[in-house]
């Protein structure tokens, strides 16, 4: 077994540390060392995007990166979206528009959409489809997801937060 490395990174605004073997993927570090199970493992082959997190603000697949590579970087997971005032507008929009059925792809989908709206607050439908093209949903056929993004976008999904309590 290779020697463990000590890694330290900022996760959802808080400094987190741990000792990991170099072969431990970022997604496993987040889920198993930090207990942040909102980030999902689905295909585990870099195809589906269920494990999407933000790395220094860019959406990446955390199953295709080692935790040691993320040392010193800034990570945001789906747990970082809601705050004490309630859910994030993208999460609200998914509730309002039924943007999920089984919900397994949802955390990754939402993180991709978060990055998309940060760069382009009012995307067209083709831009939304392109923006989520790294995330696979097997339930919705994407129609309701796209409506959710459009709702979040029309309500200024970047900054506005609702009064709903985080659950």
């Amino acid at each position: 077994m290779a020697q463990k490395s000590h890694v330290s990174m900022t996760v959802n605004g808080t400094k987190k540390e741990g000792d990991v073997e170099p072969r431990i993927l970022l997604v496993h570090f987040l889920r198993e060392n930090l207990g942040l199970t909102g980030t999902h493992v689905a295909c585990d082959t870099s195809n589906c995007g269920a494990c999407t997190v933000l790395l220094d603000g860019r959406a990446v697949k955390s199953c295709t990166m080692f935790a040691v590579q993320a040392a010193g970087r800034d990570i945001m997971t789906v747990e970082g979206l809601a705050n004490k005032d309630g859910l994030h507008p993208i999460q609200e929009a998914f509730l309002a528009k039924h943007g999920l059925q089984c919900g397994f792809c949802t955390p990754g989908m939402i993180m991709s959409i978060y990055a998309l709206l940060e760069n382009n607050p009012h995307p067209t439908e083709p831009e939304i489809r392109e923006g989520i093209s790294g995330n696979i949903c097997r339930c919705t056929g994407y129609a309701k997801i796209i409506e959710s993004v459009q709702l979040a976008s029309s309500e200024g999904g970047r900054s506005r937060r609702s009064k709903r309590k985080a659950r």
Binding site: R23, K61, G131
Partner: protein, 294 residues
Amino acid sequence: MIPSSFDYVSPKSLKEAVGLLESKGEGAKIIAGGQSLIPLMKLRLASPSVLIDLGRIPGLNYLREEAGALRIGAMTRMSDVAASEMLRKKYPIIQDAAKVIADPLIRNLGTMGGNVSHGDPTNDMPAVMLALGADFFALGPSGERTIGVRDFFLDAFSVALEHNEILTEIRVPTTPPRSGGSYLKIEQKVADFATAGVAVQITLSKVGQCETVGIGLTAVGPKAIEAKDAEDSLVGVRPTDTASVRKAAQLAADASDPASDIRGTADYKRSLVKLLVTRGVKVAYARSQGRASS
């Protein structure tokens, strides 16, 4: 899926990285964006004993025009290539390819250097670099050397880098006036590897004939293929001469060497090459005239 065990080192300079390649031996492997390597490691098709991460070496992520060339740092992320305004205006062929590589999430980590030095015949940038006549800069223990694109791709997953060399930069000659290019790819679904891809780059003379022509093919052979006969057949020809373009397209299809697989039969892929060369010349021509054709 968990890869087999390895040691991880993250050097702070290229020189240190080259030294590590030497001292750690044949089992050591460079990791750039990791978007091809990590999936291979998870499947245990690759099991390096040491990973040398280029991610913490400063100054390898850039796109700039300088001294008659476009210089692309090896660690330049594909998403930065896809978003570059300068590339959109002056080297649209590179941007065409960047936009159809994998998906936005993979492009946020995948690098230009990785895409060419992995040597995967289904990667898109090798054909583009063949069409553009790029040069590759590699650093080794005895210093830097230049490898021309025609000498770079050796076979499937094999390129002209020695074990102790690291690709540092891709240099593309500045395109002259009246130049245009295009990269077209057929894929079964978004983020799939190419069923076939074709890169076309042309420069026209003042009277509107092709002066230089570059044609590169993706995923239709054990490595990226330069369609030399097709290129030569178009020199001195107007890109609007449909009979000549059709002939060139056939020559490119003849130069391809595809295998029948899940994405289609060899015959089908050859017919795609023919189709994409014809379309690619049209797009390249429109762009050479300053028209933003897509």
